[in-house]
C-alpha cells in the first residue's frame, strides 16, 4: 500500500479537499492507499516516511527526494480530472 502525504498551509482546509478527492478516486479504482494530512511546514520532517507528497500550493524543497505533486487544480476544478489521473496512475504502479 502506498502512503501519501497531503500538505497545505494549515493542514486543515485545502489539504482536506485534496485528500478527500484522492481517497474517493482511489476507492473507485480499488487502489489501496493511506493518506495523511499535515502542514507544509511539517513536510521536510515527515517526507521520508511517504511515497508521494501532494501539496495544494507551490512548494519546493531540493532536500526532499520523493516525488512532490502540486495539485492546485483540485481546488480550482480546472484540470482536476487530469491531476487525479496522474496521481492514481502513480499510486497504482
Amino acid at each position: 500500500m502506498k502512503k501519501v502525504l497531503v500538505a497545505c498551509g494549515n493542514g486543515i482546509a485545502t489539504s482536506t479537499i485534496a485528500a478527500v478527492k484522492i481517497r474517493e478516486a482511489c476507492e473507485e479504482k480499488k487502489i489501496p492507499v493511506a493518506i495523511t494530512q499535515c502542514k507544509i511546514l511539517e513536510v521536510p520532517s515527515k517526507a521520508e516516511d511517504y511515497d508521494l507528497i501532494v501539496t495544494t500550493g507551490k512548494f519546493q524543497d531540493p532536500s526532499i527526494k520523493i516525488p512532490i505533486f502540486s495539485a492546485i487544480s483540485l481546488l480550482t476544478g480546472i484540470g482536476a480530472k487530469e491531476s487525479i489521473e496522474k496521481i492514481t496512475d502513480f499510486l497504482s504502479k
Binding site: A7, C8, G9, N10, G11, I12, A13, T14, S15, T16, I17, V20, Q37, K39, I40, L41, E42, P44, S45, T55, T56, G57, K58, F59, Q60, D61, I72, L75, T76, G77, I78
Partner: protein, 455 residues
C-alpha cells in the same frame, strides 16, 4: 425584508436550546438540500460538521482546563498578564458556523459575490465557501452585541465587499510573486495584513538607508523549523508556561504533553468541518461556474495555496518566536499566543509578496501585523468569549479566549467597530474610506505597480 429575516431567525431560535451539536447538523443539512444535495448526502455532511464541533469542544476544554490555571499562576508569579487564551481560528470558525444566523450571513456573502460579478465590480469568483467564516464572524459578533439583524447583515456585506476587492487588488501580486495566474485569495486572515503592510511598505521605502536593507537566512528551516512543528512548539510552550507557573516537574511535563496534544488535535477536528462542508462548497462552485461561463474571472481560493513559499516560511518561522516574546511586553496586550502560532504563515504571506521577498521588511511588517492582532484580540475578547460560551463551547475556569482570526484581524476589527459604535456616524466614514481606496487602487495605481517600484 426585516420581517422575513426575523421569521427565519425565530425558527432557528427554537432549536437554540439544543446547542451547536444539534443545530449544526440541521443547518448544514438544510443548506445542503438548498444546493440540491441528496438528503442522505446532506445529512452526512451535517453530521460530519456536528462531529467536528463536538471534537473541537473536547479539545478546547482540554486547553482551557490545563492552560487556564497555568496562565493565571503565571500572572501571579511574574506579573506577565497573559490571561486570554488563544484557542485558534478553528474553534472560532466552529462558533461562527454554529450561529443561528449563519444561513442568512452565508446567503448575504454569496449574493454579494454574485452581484459584484454581475455588475463587473469584482473579478473574484469565491469558490472557497469554507472561508466565508472570516466574513461571517463579524456579522455574528455584531448581532451578538446589537441584536440587530440588519446591522449584522450589513457587517457581513461590507466584509464581503472588502474581502473581494482586496483579493482583486492583490491578485497581480499573487500572480507575479507566487506565479499563480487567474486566481485570487479571498481569505481575510491573509488579506487583512495588507491594511498595515501597504502604508508601512511605502513608508519604509521612503526612509533613506532603511530602504536598502535586506538579508537572507540560510537554512532557516533547520534553525527555526521547530516553530513550524505543532508537536514541538506545543510541548515547549507548555513546558515554559508550566515553569513560569512554578508547577512541580510532573505537572510541567503533563502540561507540555497536553499542549502538544491540543496543537495536534485542533487541526484534525477542524478538518472534519471542512470535510462536511465540502459537498456544499462543490455544489456552489458548480452553480457559479456554470452561470459565469465564458467570463474571465479570478477563481478565489484559500490562501493556503501560497504559504508553502520558502520566503513566507522563513518569515513566519522568525516572526513566531518574536510574537511570543512581544506578547509579554506589548503594553495593553493580554492575549497568550498559542494555537494560532501555527498559522502565522497566512498572516505574513501577502506581506512577503508585497515587498517582493525582502526578508528585513517582511519581518518588520510581520511583527507590526501580529502586534495589531494581539491588541485587537485583547479588545474584543470579552465579546468573543461570551459568544463562544453562548454557542456551547465548553470553557473551564472562567477562561477568556481570543485567536489570530475573527475580529483580531485589523480589517475585521474596524468593520466590527463601525457596527457596534454610532452607526450613523461610523458607517458613512467606512463607505467614504472604502470608496477612496476603490478609486485609488482600482484606477490610480495597482498594487502591482507598488511592487515593481520596490523591486
Amino acid at each position: 425584508m426585516n420581517q422575513v429575516l426575523q421569521a427565519t431567525y425565530v425558527a432557528f431560535r427554537a432549536l437554540m436550546g439544543a446547542g451547536a451539536v444539534v443545530i449544526l447538523p440541521i443547518i448544514i443539512t438544510i443548506v445542503g438540500l438548498i444546493v440540491r444535495l441528496k438528503f442522505s448526502k446532506a445529512l452526512k455532511a451535517g453530521l460530519t460538521v456536528g462531529i467536528g464541533f463536538a471534537g473541537i469542544n473536547l479539545v478546547i476544554n482540554l486547553l482551557s482546563t490545563n492552560l487556564g490555571p497555568a496562565a493565571k499562576a503565571m500572572v501571579q508569579n511574574f506579573g506577565i498578564k497573559l490571561d486570554i487564551l488563544d484557542v485558534g481560528w478553528g474553534a472560532i470558525a466552529a462558533v461562527t458556523w454554529s450561529s443561528p444566523i449563519i444561513p442568512i450571513l452565508i446567503g448575504v456573502i454569496f449574493l454579494t459575490n454574485i452581484l459584484l460579478l454581475v455588475l463587473k465590480a469584482s473579478d473574484t469568483l469565491d469558490v472557497d465557501i469554507w472561508n466565508y467564516h472570516h466574513m461571517a464572524i463579524v456579522g455574528v459578533m455584531v448581532y451578538f452585541v446589537t441584536n440587530n439583524l440588519i446591522y449584522a447583515s450589513l457587517a457581513a456585506l461590507f466584509m464581503a465587499i472588502i474581502t473581494f476587492k482586496l483579493s482583486d487588488w492583490s491578485a497581480p501580486l499573487v500572480e507575479k510573486y507566487f506565479g499563480l495566474p487567474s486566481i485570487s485569495l479571498p481569505t481575510m486572515s491573509a488579506l487583512s495584513s495588507l491594511l498595515i503592510a501597504v502604508p508601512m511598505n511605502w513608508l519604509l521605502d521612503k526612509i533613506p538607508g532603511v530602504n536598502k536593507i535586506n538579508f537572507s537566512i540560510k537554512d532557516a528551516q533547520k534553525k527555526f523549523g521547530i516553530f513550524g512543528e505543532p508537536i514541538m512548539l506545543g510541548f515547549i510552550l507548555g513546558a515554559v508556561i508550566g515553569l513560569l507557573a512554578r508547577y512541580p516537574v510532573d505537572k510541567v511535563l503533563s502540561l507540555a504533553v497536553y499542549m502538544a496534544a491540543v496543537l495536534v488535535l485542533i487541526p484534525k477536528m477542524t478538518a472534519l468541518f471542512v470535510e462536511g462542508l465540502m459537498p456544499i462548497s462543490e455544489a456552489a462552485t458548480k452553480f457559479t461556474q456554470e452561470r459565469f461561463k465564458g467570463r474571465k474571472f479570478l477563481i478565489g481560493l484559500d490562501a493556503a495555496v501560497i504559504v508553502g513559499d520558502q520566503s513566507v516560511i522563513t518569515t513566519a518561522l522568525i516572526v513566531t518566536p518574536i510574537t511570543i516574546l512581544m506578547a509579554a511586553v506589548l503594553p495593553g496586550n493580554r492575549v497568550l499566543p498559542f494555537a494560532d502560532l501555527a498559522v502565522i504563515t497566512f498572516r505574513v504571506a501577502m506581506i512577503v509578496a508585497l515587498c517582493n521577498g525582502n526578508l528585513f521588511k517582511s519581518i518588520i511588517m510581520g511583527i507590526f501585523t501580529t502586534g495589531a492582532i494581539l491588541l485587537a484580540g485583547t479588545a474584543t475578547s470579552p465579546v468573543l468569549t461570551a459568544l463562544a460560551k453562548s454557542t456551547g463551547l465548553n470553557l473551564a475556569n472562567g477562561s477568556q479566549i481570543s485567536c489570530f482570526a475573527a475580529t483580531s484581524l485589523s480589517v475585521s476589527y474596524l468593520v466590527y467597530e463601525v457596527f457596534v459604535s454610532n452607526v450613523m456616524i461610523t458607517l458613512p466614514i467606512l463607505i467614504v474610506v472604502l470608496a477612496a481606496c476603490w478609486y485609488y487602487f482600482g484606477h490610480v495605481r495597482k498594487l502591482k505597480g507598488i511592487m515593481e517600484e520596490a523591486s
